[in-house]
Symmetry: C2
């Protein structure tokens, strides 16, 4: 687990500011790589990639490597549309020569060597790696390097020496709240491979569903899943698919809370009386396993035994989060047990439970992973804490000797912009002050895709492209943190990810089309102009702002379900406003573009209203459309005021700000993203003097 020492030990150019300097969004980075490699030296030439392209494998080989090379060639053919020779050769005269030294572990381990060196020059490329894990990462890097050039497809000359900063770089997908079909999981694993993530954390049980076949306890999936579950064969297939991509699969069975779906078939495990039904609502619910029931541990022993044989990974996630204790408090037997055993609180009761389960997990050869709550006094040191609470919690765990991974800051469902996730570092905050030894215990992090408001149709768009920014955070140096560079490269990888079958761009368009129905092209354009600049409300505000209590049966066909969680158009608009203000409002080109945008917004509502009369899904956003129109009018008025060169009247300012306040309110669970930037213009106009006062 030497993940932190790698950067320096390579002894060559350390990246960050040097190759990826601060730039505006319109500029392109020198290398379109995400994540940024540990070290790279660029040359001046490039390697032409044409129909004569060949690959040779030398050194250690195994079927997984052959498949990786096949996949690489298919992907290269796909992204170039060149008719390439689709088989690797053994000739060292190949254009790309791969040299792998030895095998990786049969069951992937935390901290295995994932490094590689990739050298590209005008005459060829060489990829060397100690293990297939590094080879596979290097192939992904090569794929990202190949792009159109002035005279054909080419990869720039470069020497890359790369290894990850953290050994645990994960994506959690909640397949329980909404069932996510296997082919969709697979294409997300393809996306993970592309950005060098190496842990798929599979959240398989919840109040709302038990999603894996149990042969020992078939009532779990038969009664707890609405018949939406993965068979064991499918899961084994998925694990093999992940291993082929250098990805570990860590299953999570959340207990003792978040477990209503278990109790539909097995009410005897619960602390309450039952009967239980699959939960359809969202939130934290009362049902919890009965930690005082010895039959529960016998059941879990057999269950963990079964699951431990299906999932080869050394880690086994037992959840442990958000037990509200109400069923425990209401059960006299449990109250008696607590007294009898001197358990002063429900936390202590849960610690007792966790301790018992931890022993079962160890008995079946695994190490426990759990959310923050499992970390209570006396828990064995070998467990891994997954922190949804934050770096302070993680640092505290590390100080106590526990290994941990950070998920706070990486919840994809909260709708944050990529830059906000990107700014969160597992080693920042309290973690920055850890001793070197303690820092080693911070293994990395995981992004989390909780599934209250995602389903098969839109999950890709909730994960990508933002997840690539998080992947970079886990792989690249802490110094790599310029958001403008990140966004430019994110834009690039986002298009590339679509070649893997991910639908994060296309599905949003299709869902907008569904909302529009039989619209004219002008109406559809007006709807897109609006949906381009709205985002779903953030954090945990979606439920309180819902028109009716949302359930797992609520149709997800509304604008809030269809638009991306981050609006590129709104971000660019904000950049344009900042650019205009940065020139003291003297940049004529920016002003022209702003005027055109405001005029289009002002006039957009009239174009959209006929459709709002015909489609209930458009009607829901009609007030948002009016707000956008009003923002356009305010923007034009602000530009007019700025052009006068004198401070605009206070009354005018107050009127404009009142309009902006309306626009800032969430409506239809949507935020109108350009509002704050328009406000900047209004304040600049009020300050007057060619905006001098408004300089950011």
């Amino acid at each position: 687990m030497d993940h932190k020492s790698g950067l320096q030990s390579l002894g060559i150019l350390v990246l960050g500011v040097c190759l990826f300097p601060t730039m505006t969004a319109a500029q392109q980075p020198v290398l379109n790589l995400i994540p940024v490699p540990a070290a790279a030296q660029t040359g001046s030439s490039s390697l032409r990639v044409d129909v004569s392209f060949t690959v040779a494998q030398t050194g250690y080989s195994e079927p997984r490597l052959d498949r990786a090379v096949d996949r690489f060639l298919r992907q290269l053919a796909h992204q170039t549309a060149l008719p390439l020779a689709m088989k690797a050769t053994k000739s060292t005269k190949a254009v790309l020569v791969i040299q792998t030294e030895h095998a990786s572990k049969e069951v992937l381990e935390v901290g295995e060597d994932e490094s590689y060196v990739l050298e590209v020059n005008a005459s060829g490329a060489k990829l060397t790696a100690p293990t297939p894990l590094g080879t596979m990462h290097g192939l992904q890097t090569f794929l990202q390097l190949v792009d159109v050039s002035p005279d054909g497809f080419a990869a720039p000359a470069v020497t890359i020496q790369d290894k990850p900063r953290f050994p645990w770089r994960g994506l959690m997908i909640d397949s329980a709240r909404h069932f996510i079909p296997l082919d969709i999981i697979k294409r997300n694993l393809d996306g993970m491979e592309a950005v060098k993530m190496n842990v798929f954390h599979w959240h398989l049980s919840e109040n709302q569903g038990f999603r894996i076949e149990s042969k020992k306890f078939p009532k779990l999936h038969e009664l707890g899943s609405d018949n939406l579950y993965y068979t064991q064969d499918e899961v084994r297939d998925l694990i093999a698919y992940a291993r082929d991509r250098g990805i570990r699969v860590v299953p999570e069975f959340d207990m003792p809370g978040h477990s209503t779906a278990w109790f539909v078939g097995h009410p005897e495990l619960a602390s309450g009386k039952g009967p239980y039904e699959i939960e359809r609502r969202w939130g934290i619910f009362d049902p919890a396993m009965d930690p005082t029931n010895e039959k529960l541990y016998k059941f879990l022993d057999e269950f963990i035994s079964e699951m431990a044989r299906i999932f080869p990974d050394h880690f086994f996630h037992i959840g442990g989060d958000e037990v509200n204790g109400k069923e425990w408090d209401a059960n006299p037997k449990i109250q008696a047990f607590k007294k009898e055993h001197g358990l002063q609180s429900n936390d202590a009761l849960q610690a007792y439970f966790s301790g018992r389960v931890q022993k079962l997990v160890v008995k079946h050869g695994k190490t426990v992973v759990g959310w923050d709550e499992v970390l209570v006094p006396g828990v064995p040191k070998d467990i891994v804490i997954q922190s949804w609470r934050g770096q302070a919690s993680l640092a505290q765990a590390a100080k106590q000797g526990y290994r941990g991974i950070l998920s706070n800051g990486y919840y994809l469902d909260l709708g944050w912009p990529a830059a906000r996730h990107y700014a969160v570092d597992p080693m920042s905050g309290d973690a920055a002050n850890l001793s070197p030894e303690e820092k080693q215990r911070v293994l990395g992090g995981e992004s989390c895709m909780w599934a209250e408001y995602v389903n098969a149709e839109n999950i890709d768009s909730r994960i990508w492209p933002r997840n690539a920014a998080i992947a970079e955070r886990f792989w690249s140096s802490q110094e790599v943190r310029d958001p403008a560079s990140m966004y430019a490269r994110l834009n690039f990888i986002s298009a590339r990810l679509e070649w893997l079958g991910l639908t994060h761009k296309t599905y949003s368009r299709k869902m907008i089309q569904r909302i529009a129905g039989a619209a004219s092209l002008d109406e559809l354009a007006a709807l897109r102009a609006l949906t381009d600049v709205v985002e779903p409300v953030k954090d945990y505000t979606r439920q309180p702002l819902a028109p009716a209590e949302p359930t797992s049966a609520t149709p997800m066909n509304r604008v809030v379900d269809a638009v991306p969680l981050e609006s590129d158009s709104a971000r660019h608009f904000g950049e344009l406003v900042d650019q205009f203000l940065a020139t003291s409002c003297r940049d004529a080109d920016s002003e022209t573009r702003l005027r055109a945008q405001f005029t289009a917004w002002r006039d957009n509502d009239a174009k959209l209203q006929p459709l709002a009369q015909r489609s209930f899904l458009v009607k829901e956003v009609a007030t948002r459309s009016q707000d956008l129109s009003a923002l356009g009018t305010v923007g034009l008025s602000a530009l007019d005021a700025i052009d006068k060169g004198q401070p605009a009247p206070d009354l005018w300012k107050a009127q404009q700000l009142a309009v902006i306040e309306q626009a800032k309110k969430p409506k239809a669970q949507l935020l109108l993203m350009p509002a704050p930037a328009v406000q900047k213009l209004v304040e600049a106009a009020a300050a007057g003097g060619a905006c001098a006062a408004a300089k950011p």
Copy 2:
């Protein structure tokens, strides 16, 4: 085969002008149905489609119908995102009650009853049909009727009595010149089902490839396909898939010409000396089977026997087109045979061959279909002529007693706009003058997707949405022919077809992204502005205009491969110009929009040029970008001149027309579609007097 008498015999409102009046593109038809049904009476209410929606099957049932209903429910859930009950009930209280009377033929026959009646009112819907074929058509109609409404998803109240005009409504796909994977064929069959086409004509052998496994003669596919062929199991699966959708599968094995790929493994069948290689170029080539070789007929007897057992359809296509006779002329043995048998010409020799093969086909229980060339004196009357030559040829065949189908006018690869295909009617031209009995012999038509310039990546975009317009031509009354109505409905079905997995919209965008590479969003927008208004050159001009001789190995990654064959944007621009001129240039709104468009075009080239420096695929279209920019300048100049209200000077006109001439020239195998409409404005400006003289 009572396909023509149906419209009148229903005795109710015959559609055409009445329900689908002439409209501008912005208007929506009363019913968004394609093809337009034979008769429909709309009501004023609508049927709400929500989570309580149910379907019941009554009357005759069979597994195929169950699967059709399952597919219908999945599709309905998909297009609404409603969590519907996914199983049909037997309760007649269901929202949609289906009543099928009896089975259709086990092997689908030409002219089977495909009619259905669909009644929708506020309380429910009833679908009745004599056979599952009608039921399946009616389900597709219902799916098209359901759309967003002011208060949820709904289908308008309507009574539809529908049946096809022609019994043979086909799509031919050439899987030979470029191999098309099976899943892509399948989604195109889904598209065919949606628009009620019922024949999939599978062009399986060509100079460039032999695409089906032969167990009797394995060298055919092993040596003739580059290992790109369909196994017999796959073909049987595809045939079952087609039958499930009411679609017949007619295989074509083109002979005696277009057969080089056969000869790679079996040179003994050819008229030349060989050896033969798979042809990589496009065109008409010399190799042809040797009609004088008795072993050829023995071979074909066994081969047709094998294929006849795989393909259950009653028809078997033997091609027969485009034999240039050079190998025959060069072979003394063949010359001697001709003399000996009194065969005065190569046509006569081919007639001899066709006669022999026809007997073999009949021996194995099938009826021959062939291209025009097979129709020579003495050919038995039961063959079916597929006419690539046109209605005259078809009419002549009908007069002689032959049945025929029209493909002239429906070649999708020629790049025609949908309206041009739509205007071609199998019963127009010479066919209009046939006697009623002769007219019965015109069975319908087939669109043809020849595959020189299509592959797995872009084939959907070359077939759809235009093929839906052709499907309407074959199904709907000859009176249904308003292009504005067709385009409005085509726009609707085009979006719907994407729900079936067709990629005609998304893939074009991905290919443009590949061409752009790591472009900024502004650059990508500039590229799209250009690619939105170009189309590939038409008819057979692509090969002579190619930068180098195209082959089957030529990468298809250029702009000409990526853009749709019909530009919606250019069509709308042309409509806008016409609208402006129709008001004697007094429509201020049109003028504003035209000015905005011209300004955007004028300024677009400067935005695109940096990308043209970086991407060879963009560089290829740099001159097109300059031409578009020049068109923008000309357009603005024309509007300025028009605003003056006086005839513009001759010199000015000559200068503008010179620019337009440049823009009209094909470059990079692309046409700049707005050029003719800009020319109209220039001519209007030159005529002066508020454009009075330029009224269209």
